[in-house]
């Protein structure tokens, strides 16, 4: 028996609802319909009155979640797509993220963002928003790459006393599976060595971890031992694990599905360059999507974002430096 990444998210929410009466789910079509991706399938039936359909009002959805959190609740907000979190951006950045700093009243809300590209999604159903949220103080940003992490990190997101942006990758929903739900997990803020190696470090997160692992498999056939670091959360970002890996390999390639300007890959390279410059045997490299809106047609989309082939090619280039 196996469980998909999407089922893991559904199961984590079911458990959060069962374990904690303060938890409720609020979002568009999350009730009887079970959510656009079925991440809340049957939850409205299992937990009557606690899984609420929202009007198409992302600003008001997040605002209401903040208000409920002030009253001691632990709401989970489902955005139908990460892209649609932008109408709620004001409440996330200016209300939720500033509340504790301003008032010392915690704001324990979890906002789930179905993120990243799937073929045919186009410019407004494919975005990766994590860097925008990580830029703002007062938010935690999680980017699980495995079904196990999707489950355990979502449970931790609900338990944390701060607003959590939970970036769950749509491609992983069905393609990523676990044998069973985990019973224990690494703490949030700790990166994972997804694959050990000694020749080059790839730092990735979310779906790019899986593609990087596939690229590492390909390079193993060429005699290269690639280490893959799964950041798990990008804020906080586990600099220690990244630098320790670079200390072992001397080479760093950062891979992210988001746009390149000022994003997570830039942040990782900045940290390694400032804190571990002497550990590098070659200039640190990064690979991101192209700096354009995300295209619709599969021919365009598949080369817009990093792929197993382009990751492997970037790694080969870096190994030659």
């Amino acid at each position: 028996m196996s469980i998909t990444y999407l089922e893991a998210i559904r199961e984590a929410q079911a458990r959060a609802l069962a374990d904690d009466p303060r938890v409720f789910i609020y979002g568009q079509d999350v009730g009887a319909f079970g959510g656009a991706f079925k991440a809340t399938k049957n939850l409205a039936k299992e937990f009557p009155g606690r899984v609420l359909d929202a009007p198409i009002s992302e600003d008001a959805m997040v605002g209401a979640a903040v208000g409920a959190a002030i009253e001691g609740m632990r709401p989970i907000v489902e955005m139908q797509f990460a892209d649609f979190s932008t109408p709620g951006l004001n409440q996330i950045l200016n209300q939720a993220a500033t509340l504790f700093w301003r008032t010392q009243v915690p704001c324990p809300i979890t906002i789930r963002l179905p993120s990243g590209g799937t073929s045919g999604g186009g410019p407004f159903h494919s975005q990766s928003m994590e860097a925008v949220y990580a830029h703002y103080p007062g938010l935690i940003v999680m980017t699980p790459a495995t079904a196990e992490d999707a489950y355990s990190m979502l449970l931790e997101a609900v338990a944390i006393d701060d607003p959590v942006i939970f970036c769950e990758h749509k491609h992983l929903y069905y393609h990523c599976k676990a044998e069973r739900l985990p019973t224990e997990a690494m703490p949030v803020g700790k990166a994972r060595i997804a694959r050990a190696g000694r020749d080059l470090t790839i730092v990735a997160y979310s779906a790019m971890v899986q593609d990087s692992l596939a690229a590492a498999d390909e390079l193993a056939g060429e005699g290269q031992q690639i280490e893959v670091v799964d950041l798990r959360s990008i804020k906080p970002l586990d600099t220690d694990t990244v630098v320790a890996s670079v200390a072992r390999t001397g080479r760093l390639l950062c891979v992210g599905e988001a746009w390149p300007w000022g994003g997570v890959t830039a942040e990782v390279i900045a940290r390694v360059a400032t804190e571990g410059f002497g550990l590098l045997d070659a200039p640190p490299q990064r690979l991101n999507s192209k700096d354009t809106p995300i295209p619709y047609h599969p021919n365009l989309w598949t080369v817009h974002r990093p792929t197993v082939r382009s990751i492997a090619a970037a790694a080969r280039n870096l190994l030659r430096m």
């Binding site: 409720f24 009155g49 606690r50 929202a54 009007p55 009002s57 992302e58 600003d59 008001a60 959805m61 997040v62 605002g63 209401a64 979640a65 903040v66 208000g67 409920a68 959190a69 002030i70 009253e71 001691g72 609740m73 709401p75 109408p87 004001n90 409440q91 200016n94 209300q95 993220a97 500033t98 509340l99 504790f100 700093w101 301003r102 008032t103 009243v105 915690p106 704001c107 324990p108 103080p137 007062g138 935690i140 944390i160 006393d161 701060d162 949030v188 803020g189 804020k235 906080p236 970002l237």
Partner: protein, 350 residues
């Protein structure tokens, strides 16, 4: 006059109205004098940032604050000093926040009108207009989850705020959820310098109530008598489960947007019109006319309020400012998840 009243209940109601009117008037006086003092401190360079006055809106604001109960929720806007005081916010909280005292509710991290105590139902507004409405909705939804009934949430906004998407989303949300929300719109004719004619095209803002499926109330915001009649009605209707109430008061902002703004764009005709009346003066004349207080009494109210303001300012001016070296520079409640971004080389910001 009292003999003409039909019953003992009506007599008690009249007495109660007189007492509420007097209480409301005293809070209005206190708010006006507190505003004047803050403006004076601003002009003297003692307040950083801005000062935003409630002049001309005290009758509306105080009537809301006075009509709410202890466990209700109140999200005031920038001109609701009178309502805050009536709801229970101490003068000390206002002065400490304006002067940035480390002992204030915001401890120097936020200032002026951005103050509150969320756990006591008084929300600290963010600057983005309309954003507080859905927060109050969420608090009311939470109370419903917790099986707490009978509480009301009140939010204040201006004519300009009704143009925001947040206003639309949140009022619709409150209507869908049938929440006990009272949304009070102070139509003070200008959003900063933008007049109503460039803000909305409907004949009256209260007409919007119909579109949202909520009850609308319209009133003369310069009349404390009218405000103390309409606000309690709207609040009791919300409390009784009749859904959101949209209250629109017509009045004029008798000052600039902030103390940096001389409001030169407000025409003389508008100032001389009924909405241009000073609600404080109108209320005082009402007191005299009804015989509920004479000029000596209202003078004494002013003296007592002025003394409270002066003493509070003197106290706060002796309090410590925030110390950047003692500051906990952590934006998270989960301190263990906070990242450290060091500044190299370390510098003394003072």
């Amino acid at each position: 006059m009292l003999q003409t009243l039909e019953s003992q209940e009506a007599l008690e109601a009249a007495l109660s109205f007189r007492e509420r009117f007097l209480r409301g008037f005293r809070f209005m006086v206190l708010a006006r004098l507190l505003d004047d003092k803050m403006a004076s401190l601003y002009r003297g360079g003692k307040i950083h940032g801005g000062v935003f006055l409630g002049r001309g809106q005290e009758a509306l604001s105080v009537s809301l604050g006075l009509s709410l109960q202890k466990d209700d929720i109140f999200a005031p806007l920038i001109r609701d000093g009178a309502g805050r005081l009536a709801f229970g916010e101490p003068v000390l909280d206002a002065v400490r926040t304006y002067l940035g005292s480390v002992l204030g509710p915001m401890r120097g991290r936020d200032g002026n009108v951005h103050r509150g105590r969320p756990r006591r139902g008084l929300l600290p507004m963010i600057s983005h207009l309309g954003a507080m409405i859905s927060v109050v909705n969420g608090m009311l939804m939470a109370r419903r989850f917790k099986k707490i009934s009978g509480d009301v949430g009140a939010v204040c906004i201006g004519d300009g705020g009704t143009s925001t998407g947040a206003f639309h989303e949140a009022l619709n949300q409150a209507a869908v959820e049938k929440l006990p929300l009272v949304l009070v719109v102070a139509n003070n004719q200008f959003a900063y310098s933008t007049p109503n004619s460039r803000q909305f095209a409907c004949e009256a803002l209260v007409d919007k109530a119909l579109g949202y499926g909520v009850t609308g109330h319209q009133l003369d915001g310069t009349s404390l008598e009218a405000c103390l009649t309409t606000l309690p009605k709207a609040i009791s209707d919300a409390r009784a489960g009749r859904g959101p109430q949209l209250v629109v008061a017509e009045l004029l902002r008798l000052c600039g947007h902030g103390e940096h703004d001389d409001a030169h764009y407000v025409g003389a005709g508008l100032k001389a019109s009924p909405v241009g009346r000073d609600c404080l003066q109108v209320a005082e004349e009402h007191l005299w006319r009804k015989g509920w207080a004479d000029s000596q009494t209202t003078k004494r109210f002013r003296q007592e309020a002025a003394q409270l303001v002066e003493e509070t300012v003197a106290k706060v001016q002796r309090e410590p400012a925030p110390d950047p070296f003692q500051q906990n520079w952590c934006a998270l409640a989960s301190r263990h998840l906070s990242e450290r971004f060091e500044t190299y080389p370390p510098v003394n910001p003072l």
